[in-house]
Amino acid sequence: MNVSITLLNPDIMKVDLKGEIDHHSSIVIREEIDSYIEKHRIKKILINFKNVTFMDSSGIGMIIGRYKKLQKLGGKIGVVNLSPKIKSIFQMSGLFNLVSCFSSEKEAIDKF
């Protein structure tokens, strides 16, 4: 799993994930995101799933965990580029009640 974090603007951090999200890799993702949030005091996270080839329920747990963390700071989470399979996992678990799904990065920057 490769995690790459960049600032889209002073408010939004973008997390590009590459590879497979399971229990093993979600621990790495969690640590990378949390340390960035703490270091830069960011409140909005946009997660890009374009290069995510697999996700199981560990990914749901990882997102809910970040949601709870940001909620305390008044922040929020958005996602882009979900594959149909990952989208079905989001729907099954009610994740779309907690995170916003954007059609593009541009839409996320405009509406987030």
Partner: protein, 145 residues
């Protein structure tokens, strides 16, 4: 009905083996010429069952996880077995969003995903002895000659 093929795999309950296990089962299942969507369902369900054995079955200990899989003409049967602590209340464990480990950021969606992505799911467990999860996926074999 006699199985067309059968395989068995034993491995140590390390989280590094989650991807190894799902890839092995997917490679075996590919003998039935499933669609990519069916393969993705199988990989996800196996990943959920194996992760449950690692996190809940063996918790902070290490043990062996055994996957047995049989191929039939139109379906694959996969069982994932551990000899860990077992499940006290299977009905509760199968409830969506219920988890015994919220502190580990578990979503409680493992069994729900297995149920949704596979055609049958059976859970047998004895507290203190272990758990066997058996799943069946029907394969349409749309590409079969």
């Amino acid at each position: 009905m006699t199985a067309l093929n059968e395989m068995q795999l034993d491995f140590v309950s390390k989280s590094e083996n989650e991807s190894f296990a799902r890839v092995v089962v997917a490679a075996f299942a590919s003998q039935l010429d499933p669609t990519l969507d069916e393969l993705a369902d199988i990989k996800t369900a196996v990943s959920e069952a194996v992760t449950n054995s690692i996190i809940h079955g063996y918790e902070d200990t290490t043990g062996i996880i055994r996957i047995n899989s049989k191929l039939y003409d139109d379906r694959i049967v996969i069982s994932v077995q551990d000899w860990g602590k077992g499940i006290e209340d299977i009905e509760l464990a199968r409830q969506p969003l219920w988890t015994s480990k919220p502190e580990l950021e578990r979503s409680g969606m493992g069994f729900t995903i297995m149920e949704n992505f596979m055609d049958e799911l059976m859970v047998e467990s004895t507290p203190g002895k272990g758990t066997v999860v058996t799943m069946v996926k029907n394969i349409k074999r749309s590409n079969a000659q």
